[in-house]
């Protein structure tokens, strides 16, 4: 049997050439990154990004039609090429999963090579381009009758292609602005992360901000580290009057719980004024014997936080109540003609034209007395294409489940 071994770089290429090329691409990416001076990569804006996106697509189709029988294009549409590009992408992502990203602590080399912001670095961009190219030629190779046979291949691969295309080309079209609403004040501007303000095509006024808080929790914390002791899973528990829970060796009984107090020289008194805080009187027992007792509070604007020391090592404290639900009642106006009153909360954004308004945050210091509600306004014109890609992948995944292999 004649076994003439194929030389490296002799067509048809397979895996070795793929890994060499992708490694080379990675090194080129690192070089560009280190020489480009830490500037974030910004995609071109309107109208260049559309021209670029469609130009590249048309170019790929033309290359396929003219050169699909050439050795290079055959390789680019082959599995070894796709695996090489997926592996490069995976290795970059692995680095991203292991190296703390956007950490202020990153030292010189990590920062210069862009390893602390991998998803916005040149190696990542080049790797995505390689993946996109290989994916495009793979799809073009199979984009021929009988379509029915190839439908699920196309659903999976074209779905992914649409997502990569829309995310990359549309990146500069996504607008992400913060609107700080104050009670009974009309807001017409949004601010981006560079503190630039933009006039919005609508006006918004906060009528009311309402928040329901969970009761606070009792926590055991370490006197030396100041950290909550988490060895015992039942360490944090919600406060309820007359409840008692066991944490480690101690039993903590809640004798009194006042959801909202203020303090004066004689102690705590119930009050719903701004700046109040929850307070509880707890008794700590060990082996049926009372160890200590006292008031604890998470503290607020007008109340000093107070914790109870049990021994040299541990103390009992009350956590700041977490939000159970918070929403903003707003009235918005578009063009001074249409207006509407509605409520926005987490998981329930408001759609105004091409914008979607999300409840982001509030004045956490003031808590339930916050007169500020922070909204995030997002405009994502390429979203329909991304959704189309996502739903194609849903179809492809269902097929994978139902048909399995073969």
């Amino acid at each position: 049997m004649d076994q003439s071994k194929r030389q490296l770089w002799q067509f048809p290429w397979r895996y070795k050439e793929g890994f060499i090329l992708t490694t080379g691409l990675w090194i080129v990416g690192l070089l560009i990154e280190s020489l480009s001076g830490h500037r974030s990569i910004r995609f071109p804006g309107w109208p260049f990004h559309i021209e670029m996106g469609f130009g590249i697509t048309v170019l790929l189709i033309i290359i396929h039609l003219l050169y699909k029988d050439s050795a290079l294009i055959k390789w680019l549409s082959s599995v070894p090429a796709s695996i090489s590009s997926i592996v490069l992408f995976t290795i970059l992502l692995l680095a991203m999963g292991l190296i703390p990203q956007q950490s202020v602590k990153s030292n010189g080399t990590i920062h210069i090579l862009g390893l602390d912001r991998i998803h916005n670095s040149w190696p990542f961009l080049l790797s995505t381009i390689m993946l996109f190219t290989s994916l495009s030629f793979t799809i073009l190779k199979r984009f021929k009758p009988p379509f029915k046979k190839n439908i699920f291949f196309l659903l999976n691969h074209l779905g992914l292609w649409l997502i990569i295309f829309a995310v990359s080309v549309g990146a500069s079209d996504t607008k992400d602005l913060f609107m700080q609403l104050e009670k009974n004040t009309t807001t017409i501007v949004g601010t981006d992360d560079q503190n630039q303000t933009y006039k919005m095509p609508f006006q918004m006024k906060l009528l009311d901000f309402s928040i329901q808080l969970f009761p606070p929790k009792i926590a055991l914390f370490d006197n030396y580290t100041g950290k909550i002791n988490v060895k015992d899973k039942r360490n944090l528990f919600l406060i309820k009057k007359n409840a008692s829970e066991k944490i480690l060796d101690w039993t903590i009984a809640i004798k009194e719980f006042i959801p909202s107090v203020k303090e004066d020289s004689s102690g705590y008194y119930a009050s719903n004024d701004t700046g109040s805080a929850p307070a509880a009187f707890v008794t700590v027992y060990q082996n049926e014997k009372q160890i200590t007792k006292g008031w604890i509070t998470s503290g607020g604007l007008k109340v000093k936080p107070k914790y109870l020391e049990i021994d040299n090592n541990y103390s009992i404290a009350m956590t700041i109540p977490e939000p159970e639900r918070y929403s903003s009642k707003i009235v918005y106006t578009i063009d001074k003609h249409h207006y509407d009153t509605t409520s926005i909360e987490v998981n329930n954004p408001l759609k105004i034209g091409s914008w979607k308004i999300y409840q982001m945050s509030y004045d956490k210091e003031k808590g339930q007395w916050s007169t500020i509600s922070i909204m995030e306004a997002i405009q994502d014109p390429w979203l329909p294409i991304i959704y189309a890609g996502i739903f194609m992948l849903f179809g492809g995944a269902s097929y994978l489940f139902w048909i399995g292999k073969n």
């Binding site: 599995v79 070894p80 796709s82 695996i83 997926i86 592996v87 992408f89 995976t90 992502l93 692995l94 991203m96 999963g97 292991l98 190296i99 703390p100 990203q101 998803h119 992400d176 969970f214 926590a219 909550i228 988490v230 360490n235 944090l236 977490e322 939000p323 159970e324 639900r325 918070y326 909360e345 987490v346 998981n347 954004p349 979607k356 999300y358 982001m360 995030e376 997002i378 979203l383 991304i386 996502i390 992948l393 849903f394 492809g396 995944a397 269902s398 994978l400 489940f401 139902w402 399995g404 292999k405």
Partner: protein, 266 residues
């Protein structure tokens, strides 16, 4: 309070599930027993669904706001998807796993009555929460099954008793598991978009979930292209599962992930 009737429904479904699955296991070459078993399983599923519907009507809103309510959906969907998968692929162990998992949620609901009113934090009060978790529960189980097969394969290869059928059965589990984790990744993205306006933020959990997806993607492509290779795919399958474990638990310990919203800690 409507929850007082929950024990009735859950006892009906518990008995239906236990007897049903026992009949299925005992039904080798006895199709009538198997049919009876499956009918009982469906009865159990209907019982779980009935309580959800009653609760929905009573509350006048979809029961998706409290911890107890979401557990109802787990106990409903887990056996349903389990039985569909079992009918399609004849995987009895998967049926046992789904019913076992749903019991965990059912029992939690029976004994932790304080969770009926325990509202979830705002971000979790979403239609996407339950589907996202369920498909990952299934996906991880299937991929764990394939990892066990990979381990089995590596050992058999060393002992020269390897059979290619093992790799083919592993492939099937991987295809199914991969389908579920694809859905999980996408449900997560759709949920994030509704909750805070961004479908992807490169949170460490998201990054590692994506890595898990890529690991199995590479495996699927290698098996497609080089079906005769044995050791390379076996080791890749094992490695992909290690990545899965990091995505599932490991990120709680990784220094790069300490600020993740997904880290399960206090």
């Amino acid at each position: 309070m409507i929850w007082v009737s929950y024990p009735i429904f859950s006892i009906i479904s518990t008995i239906a599930f236990i007897v049903g699955i026992s009949l299925i296991y005992a039904s080798i070459s006895k199709p009538l027993l198997r049919f009876a078993g499956e009918a009982l399983l469906i009865t159990g599923i209907i019982s779980n669904l009935s309580f959800i519907i009653i609760l929905w009507i009573y509350l006048n809103r979809p029961p998706l706001r409290t911890l107890g309510e979401t557990r109802l959906w787990y106990s409903f969907f887990l056996p349903l998807i389990g039985i569909i998968t079992y009918k399609r692929w004849n995987l009895k162990w998967f049926l046992l796993y789904s019913i076992g998992m749903s019991f965990i949620f059912l029992l939690l609901n029976l004994f932790k009555t304080e969770t009926y009113d325990q509202t979830l934090n705002p971000a979790l009060q979403s239609l996407w929460f339950v589907p996202h978790v369920i498909v990952y529960i299934f996906g991880y189980a299937l991929l764990a099954g394939s990892a066990l097969m990979a381990l089995n394969g590596i050992i058999r290869f060393r002992n020269n008793s390897f059979d290619i059928q093992l790799l083919k059965r592993a492939d099937n589990l991987v295809y199914m598991g991969f389908a579920f984790i694809t859905l999980g990744l996408l449900f997560g993205a759709l949920w994030a978009k509704e909750a805070w306006g961004h479908y992807w933020t490169w949170d460490p959990k998201e990054t590692w979930a994506f890595l898990t997806w890529l690991g199995y993607l590479i495996y699927i492509h290698i098996r497609w292209h080089l079906p005769k290779k044995i050791t390379a795919p076996l080791w890749m399958l094992a490695l992909a599962f290690v990545i899965l474990l990091v995505a599932w638990f490991g990120i709680n310990y990784l220094p790069s992930a300490q600020n993740s919203v997904h880290v399960y800690s206090n």
